[in-house]
């Protein structure tokens, strides 16, 4: 039947022990017994999704016309800016991820003060250098700029009733994305100002522009509000400059920080937000735990009663499967959501299916009068092709779901796909390796003659 049963049993024991270790602890910690140094540490606390613990989910989208290209780099910068800003709020375990080409999804679990988060995210901190020609601009003036404005939006702005004046759309020369460094400095008389250095690309744009527009005004605009609008006195080609204004140290410093860490390379708008209250989440968690437990008990009883000895081997391997799967979810940090739990239960069904396929085959071969050994070998080898092909179909579907979920920041769909796919893979190991080994060992020890009683034929 199976060669090297003992080796296999040891492998299974090892895997299960490791799984139990992960299942039962919140952090994995290996220390050097001689000096107590930490060799390995990993947080394996179970991560619950927003639907199970309550919280806020926000989907942000680049607020640019659809034909304006958004680079992966600027998305990544925007993502980390938001992460920095919201982490500063002291919210634990926030997740900020890029979803698709131009969206960012932020999840803030267990959060009560949703307003604070949304406001913090919405401080866009978009810095623009705007060409205002010969018009001096007072600080505090609100401007319309062409950055990120589509042609259609532009046309709409110009389309005003007769007698009214269309707003002037100023052209943006460059944005905060072109800054490489920002810090507070002091001028000759001790007033505070903000000094900035530009990236190579930025200094080229800035150099060309300033040399062609000497004596005109350049407005420095934050979130469409003019901070200062100095007159260009000479070409600035060195790639650095200063922003002057009515600053004290604190306001200069705040602005500098916002520009340094907080200047979003692209404007973002909230296209979707979801809030799940903490009680609703708690309730769902307990209910689905109970459901999972009840379902498992029924299935374990059914398998044991219907398939007898093999059924009991399958029961053990299903329980081990659950322990291993949970450990893997914890280890790689899969966020558990309600559909995730459903996906896990479905893959449990899949694990059972693989067992059932084999056992039905085993009974069939035994009925044909084959010896136990022949029937055993045949059951696994014959059932393999259908187990392989049918699970492949499920895996393909899970992959497509995962892709779909990622592109839309639909973490719920993604969670379902991950638990389903991982579950199916682990279920293959459980049915083909664990059940197989356990049953072979039992048959060796038991020397069975009465097939009817032991196999339920």
């Amino acid at each position: 039947m199976i060669k090297r049963q003992n080796t296999r049993l040891v492998v299974i024991a090892f895997v299960v022990l490791f799984a139990l270790w992960v299942d039962l602890s919140d952090t994995l910690l290996i220390t050097n017994p001689f000096n107590g140094n930490v060799i390995y540490e990993r947080n394996v606390k179970p991560q619950l999704g927003l639907d199970l613990r309550g919280g806020l989910q926000v989907l942000l989208e680049a607020d640019l016309a659809a034909d304006v290209e958004v680079t992966a780099d600027s998305m990544e910068v925007a993502r980390s800016v938001i992460e920095n800003r919201t982490n500063a709020l002291g919210v634990a375990e926030n997740v900020v991820q890029i979803a698709g080409d131009r969206r960012i999804v932020g999840e803030f679990p267990g959060l009560e003060d949703t307003e604070g988060v949304i406001n913090t995210i919405q401080q866009t901190g978009l810095l623009e250098f705007v060409d205002v020609g010969n018009t001096p601009m007072a600080a505090g003036t609100i401007l319309v700029t062409d950055y990120g404005l589509s042609d259609a939006a532009m046309a709409e702005l110009q389309n005003v009733p007769e007698g009214e004046v269309a707003p002037i759309v100023y052209s943006t020369i460059m944005t905060g994305g072109d800054l490489s460094d920002v810090y507070v400095s002091q001028d000759q008389v001790g007033g505070f100002q903000i000094a900035f250095a530009l990236t190579d690309a930025g200094s080229e744009i800035f150099g060309t522009y300033t040399s062609q527009n000497i004596n005109k005004y350049l407005a420095i605009v934050l979130d469409k509000v003019v901070i200062s609008a100095p007159r260009i006195q000479s070409a600035i080609t060195g790639g650095s400059g200063v922003i002057t204004g009515q600053f004290d140290y604190e306001s200069a410093n705040n602005l500098a920080i916002q520009l340094r860490y907080g200047s979003l390379p692209i404007p973002l708008k909230i296209v979707e937000s979801r809030i799940i209250g903490p009680t609703l989440g708690e309730d769902s968690l307990q209910r689905s735990m109970k459901a999972g437990l009840v379902g498992m008990i029924i299935v374990v009883l059914f398998m044991g009663i219907y398939y007898r000895l093999p059924g009991i081997a399958a029961d053990i391997s299903i329980l081990l499967y659950a322990a291993i799967a949970f450990a893997i979810f914890k280890f790689i940090g899969v966020t558990l959501t309600l559909p995730g739990i459903a996906g896990f239960m479905l893959s449990t069904g899949s694990a059972l299916d693989a067992n059932i396929l084999v056992f039905e085959r085993l009974k069939e071969e035994l009925r044909k009068g084959r010896t136990l050994k022949q029937a055993f070998d045949m059951a696994w080898s014959r059932a393999w092709s259908s187990i392989r092909d049918s699970n492949a179909a499920v895996l393909i579907t899970a992959a497509i779901l995962f892709w779909f979920g990622s592109a839309f920041g639909a973490t719920i769909v993604k969670g379902f796909a991950i638990t389903l796919a991982l579950g199916v893979l682990i279920s293959l190991f459980s049915a083909l390796y664990i059940t197989n080994t356990l049953l072979a060992t039992a048959l060796d020890k038991l020397n069975i003659k009465n097939y009817e009683r032991w196999f339920g034929i």
Binding site: D51, E61, E115, I118, I270, V271, E272, S273, R274, I275, I276, G277, T279, L280, D283, S284, R287, S288, K290, A291, G292, V294, G295, I298, V299, F302, L338, P339, A342, M345, L346, T348, G349, S350, L352, D353, I356, L357, E360, S385, S386, D389, S390, A392, A393, V394, I396, T397, A398, I400, L401, W403, F404, A407, F408, A410, I412, V413, F416, L420
Partner: protein, 302 residues
């Protein structure tokens, strides 16, 4: 057991079950959730007595928010769907409600912009198409040694379409009776059913593949029938006993949030097993015998 002999009867049964729902669907019966259309959903509970739906609706109307509909939940809360709300509008509504009805707590707030809704719909359609195409390709590849390998793929797809049609049909009935909506969870259920429907068909096909090597002398119909009977016990045990047990437990204990999802999955997976036996395999036989040639002749003589 001769299951294939009555194949046209089974086709008819499927049609009778599926058609009423599809008719409801065609008459515009199945509402799309805000996941697809854009809009917002606000679920609130009240510390004091729960106000009448009409009172809540009045708050929305006074705030000039369009398309508001109100639904009460089993737990004494209220769900209000309306056009897209930004955070300012939502806060304004909440403070009005708190003033009018006593302390109001948000249980859930979903707000989806209209542009996202459109994209979700088109991508969802793409996700379904791509995953079914990939599975067909996989089956065709996996059955490449068998005569007419592509037939197996296409039969599996027909069975899958049967299951998808049934799910839509059930959801349309659910939409009519319980106010179900098509949301992103429905989509998840749909794709899962597609995957498992394929799984069931493949198990039956695998047996046909195996038998067609060992039982060459049998005619095709007997061979397929034999294969179905051989896998029948597995189909019943896996589907009806295990998967359905697990899902039924979820349906009864899993809370309202998941109920629609679980019911759709239950029906879909059951249909997946049914269709693997009564649609996918019979279609293979119909195809092998090119039976469509005689369909109209039969009618003429009868």
């Amino acid at each position: 057991m001769n299951l294939l002999g009555k194949r046209y009867l089974f086709f008819a049964i499927s049609a009778i079950v599926i058609l009423p729902g599809l008719i409801i669907l065609a008459s515009g019966g199945l509402p799309l959730s805000i996941d697809f259309t854009g809009g917002s959903l606000l679920e609130v509970t009240f510390t004091g007595t729960t106000p009448q739906p009409a009172e809540v609706l009045a708050v929305y109307e006074n705030a000039n928010i369009r398309d508001a509909t109100v639904q009460t939940t089993e737990t004494g809360g209220i769900i209000i769907r309306s056009e897209f709300l930004d955070n300012d509008k939502r806060d304004a509504l909440l403070s009005t409600m708190s003033e009018t009805f006593g302390e109001t707590t948000i249980q859930r707030f979903d707000s989806v912009g209209p542009s996202i809704g459109e994209q979700v719909t088109s991508r969802a359609a793409m996700a379904v198409t791509v995953s079914s195409l990939l599975v067909v390709l996989y089956i065709a590849f996996s059955f490449r040694g068998v005569k007419g390998a592509y037939r197996y793929g296409i039969s599996a797809i027909l069975a899958m379409i049967h299951d998808v049609a049934l799910i839509f049909s059930i959801s349309a009935v659910g939409g009519l009776l319980f106010g179900w909506e098509i949301d992103s969870l429905f989509l998840t259920a749909l794709l899962t059913v597609i995957g498992f429907s394929m799984q069931d068909s493949i198990v039956v096909f695998d047996r046909i593949r195996e038998n067609s090597n060992s039982l060459r002398r049998l005619d095709y119909e007997t061979l397929v029938n034999h294969s179905i009977v051989q896998t029948l016990q597995r189909s019943i045990n896996t589907q009806l006993m295990t998967v359905e047990f697990l899902l039924l437990a979820l349906a009864f204990f899993g809370g309202v949030t998941l109920r629609q999802f679980v019911v759709v999955l239950l029906v879909g997976l059951m249909s997946g097993t049914y269709s693997s036996i009564f649609i996918a395999a019979p279609v293979l036989v119909v195809w092998e015998g090119k039976e469509w040639k005689t369909w109209f002749k039969k009618k003429a003589t009868a």
